[in-house]
């Protein structure tokens, strides 16, 4: 009662103060509401590229593994392709289960090597692949145990070259339709191509070891890879680690990934066994 009847300005001051605070609070709240109301909802969805890369890598690994498992255990081609198909089919059947956890789907198609010829000597094994490429670097020659090529020419010239650590050629074997020519830093040898077209390049007749063993390491390169097809196998030590470079076939594979946002279809050559 006393407060209402009091004619002094305390109540007025208090009311004014409360109104001022209320106004500030309302302004700040209104500002936030308007700002949030106007904001677009920008959701950055998770990337699918990692799933796709993962799918390509595990498919490549699985096909190579299946090839090695089947060919190493069974020399019979029919049995080996059957075992290969069985292993890859199991993998293919499990893929949708794995990718369903990510809310997507995955599918692969593949082929076996029945009725398939050897791969081209390009980087990816396909006729249109990289013509000139490096097979392996840092090879320690004294530890090179296998260096075999089976070569069939489709063009006029094909070349395998060894280069020293500075990149200078120190040895090469160049093939034409009838002859091969081995060249090192001191001389050159011109010979007929063997009838079975198999080149065991660690053999003394090719002068590889004597031409390269004085260098701490060499790199092995293929030149004009589109002009030839066949198989190769190189085993040894490079950069103090064991390595295997081997190619028999190129198996055409497709991988497809589908999520709610992304659909990708990629055809991928898989070189086997490595």
């Amino acid at each position: 009662m006393g407060l209402i009847e009091d004619n002094d300005a305390q109540f007025m001051l208090l009311a004014g103060f409360l109104i001022a605070i209320g106004l500030v609070i309302t302004t700040v709240m209104l500002n936030s509401i308007i700002f949030e109301g106007n904001m677009a909802i920008g959701s950055v969805t998770g990337d699918s590229k990692y799933e796709m890369v993962n799918l390509m890598q595990i498919t490549t690994d699985e096909i190579r593994s299946a090839y090695r498992n089947s060919t190493e255990k069974d020399i019979n081609k029919t049995n080996s392709t059957r075992n290969f198909t069985r292993q890859v089919n199991n993998f293919s059947a499990d893929l949708p289960k794995i990718y369903s956890m990510y809310g997507g789907g995955a599918k692969i198609t593949y082929e076996n090597w029945t009725n398939k010829g050897p791969a081209n000597f390009t980087e990816n094994g396909r006729p249109g692949g990289n013509n000139n490429w490096t097979v392996v670097e840092g090879v320690i020659v004294k530890n090179l145990s296998v260096f075999n090529f089976t070569i069939n020419l489709t063009g006029s010239i094909f070349k395998i070259e060894a280069r020293n650590p500075t990149g200078s050629p120190v040895w090469s074997i160049e093939l034409n339709t009838t002859h091969y020519n081995v060249t090192n830093v001191t001389n050159s040898t011109f010979m007929l191509i063997p009838s079975d077209r198999v080149f065991n390049l660690t053999s003394p007749v090719y002068y590889f070891n004597v031409s390269t063993s004085s260098y701490p390491s060499v790199s092995i390169h293929i030149i004009y890879g589109r002009n030839a097809f066949g198989t190769y196998k190189i085993l040894g030590l490079a950069n103090n680690r064991n390595f295997t470079r081997e190619r028999d076939y190129v198996l055409n594979t497709t991988v497809a990934l589908s999520t709610s946002k992304v659909k990708a279809n990629i055809s991928m050559p898989v070189t086997v066994p490595w």
Binding site: F35, N38, V44, S48, K49, Q57, V262, K263, S267
Partner: protein
């Protein structure tokens, strides 16, 4: 009237004049408050659009880069990309205002612009060919595709 008498005078204006004065002051203050709220909301709208443009622009740049990366990674496997489709959705309006989206292949930038002057650029980087496009407001569903024939990334409305 002497100055002393003004200080000591405790009379006020009449009730009518007092009411008019109070009413006028109230109207002026109320108008001022309303105008300040209006300009505040306008600024907030523009700021909100800019912030939204930043989010949308960087998100779209991320999606374009994802497609580009997929193509490049596939090449590193010796693989060929037969098709990639990346669907996404953008709001048709932001803060009730439509906007334009200009994707340039000269400066590789996504420029988002509204009529109220809000303009934001989001840079992106691609190593494959990219076809620039300008989209005017209204569309919501878009798709990024890769054409293996001309090795180009396209973006289009669905």
């Amino acid at each position: 009237m002497a100055p002393e008498s003004i200080i000591k005078n405790e009379d006020a204006v009449s009730v009518s004049i007092g009411f008019i004065l109070m009413f006028a002051v109230t109207v002026i203050v109320f108008t001022g408050v309303m105008i300040s709220f209006y300009s505040l909301s306008q600024n907030t709208e523009k700021t909100a659009m800019k912030e939204s443009f930043k989010i949308l622009g960087s998100g779209l740049a991320n999606k374009i880069t994802t497609v580009d990366t997929l193509v490049n990674v596939s090449s590193s496997f010796g693989a060929t990309v037969e098709s990639i489709e990346y669907e996404f959705r953008l709001p048709a309006t932001i803060a009730g205002t439509t906007y334009t989206m200009n994707l340039t292949n000269t400066t590789y930038e996504i420029l988002l612009e509204a009529d109220n002057g809000a303009l934001v650029g989001a840079p992106f980087s691609v190593s494959n060919n990219f076809t620039g496009r300008k989209f005017y407001g209204g569309a919501e569903d878009y798709i990024i595709t890769y054409d293996k024939k001309d090795k180009t990334i396209y973006i289009d409305e669905r």
